[in-house]
């Protein structure tokens, strides 16, 4: 996760000058897959819930090293999502295929390191402080 994401959201996403896309990177095998799967399943119920689950997954990252479907079903319920639909979705092969497809897409554009991000078509690898984002965005005409 971008460490500066909350600041970027408040300063740029909120005013409509920047939009944010999350692209799955599978770096830790099945544990990663299950976490990404949970985010996708939340989004399949409500698009906004993808981002709510995204925030929850990062906030509770320490619990994700040995995740269980039951743990994630409980989190889905916290977000007001349908547990039964979530349970079915967690074993949906089309969602698993989508996550693999997204992971392949990031490899195709050359993302090898984390964190990595792109501002429009410019790929930037490595951490960047908030001031660095402000400078890059200013170069794109966004203040």
């Amino acid at each position: 996760m971008l460490r500066v994401e909350p600041e970027l959201k408040a300063a740029y996403v909120a005013n409509g000058t920047v939009n944010l896309t999350f692209s799955h990177v599978i770096d830790h095998g099945d544990a990663s897959r299950l976490a990404h799967h949970a985010a996708e399943c939340a989004g399949s119920q409500q698009p906004l819930a993808f981002w709510q689950m995204h925030d929850l997954l990062f906030a509770r990252q320490a619990q994700l090293w040995n995740p269980t479907p039951d743990l994630l079903l409980g989190w889905a319920e916290e977000l007001g999502l349908d547990r039964q639909a979530m349970s079915s979705c967690l074993t949906d092969p089309t969602i698993a295929a989508k996550i693999e497809r997204i992971d392949q897409a990031r490899r195709a554009v050359g993302v090898r390191l984390r964190p990595s991000f792109a501002l429009n078509d410019t790929l930037i690898e490595g951490a960047l402080p908030y001031t660095g984002f402000v400078q890059r965005l200013a170069e794109l005409g966004v203040n």
């Binding site: 990177v25 599978i26 990062f58 990252q61 792109a118 501002l119």
Partner: protein, 94 residues
């Protein structure tokens, strides 16, 4: 003779008083027609525009981009889908 004069006066008065009173106003057609034109003109002329500014008219609700999510291909995009800058975060949750 005197009686005859009185009778003559009476008869004269009867014929004169039988005449309808002379009109004191313009004929009805003269007043009705111009009035109709005026009304038509007033109706066809552009009505004056009065803009009333109120709080509800000015304060259009702003979009809450932090709760706006669009589905673009395989991705859930948070914020203004027409924003000039697209930021992609490539991350694992672990």
């Amino acid at each position: 003779m005197k009686v005859l004069a009185v009778l003559l006066t009476f008869v004269t008065c009867l014929s004169a008083c039988a005449q309808p009173p002379a009109p004191t106003s313009a004929p009805p057609t003269a007043t009705t027609a111009p009035a109709a034109i005026i009304v038509a003109t007033a109706t066809l002329a552009p009505a004056p525009v009065t803009v009333v500014v109120t709080d509800t008219a000015v304060a259009a609700p702003a979009t809450d981009w932090l709760t706006t999510v669009s589905v673009v291909g395989d991705y859930y995009v948070l914020g203004n889908p027409a924003a000039p800058v697209r930021l992609i975060d490539y991350s694992d949750f672990l």
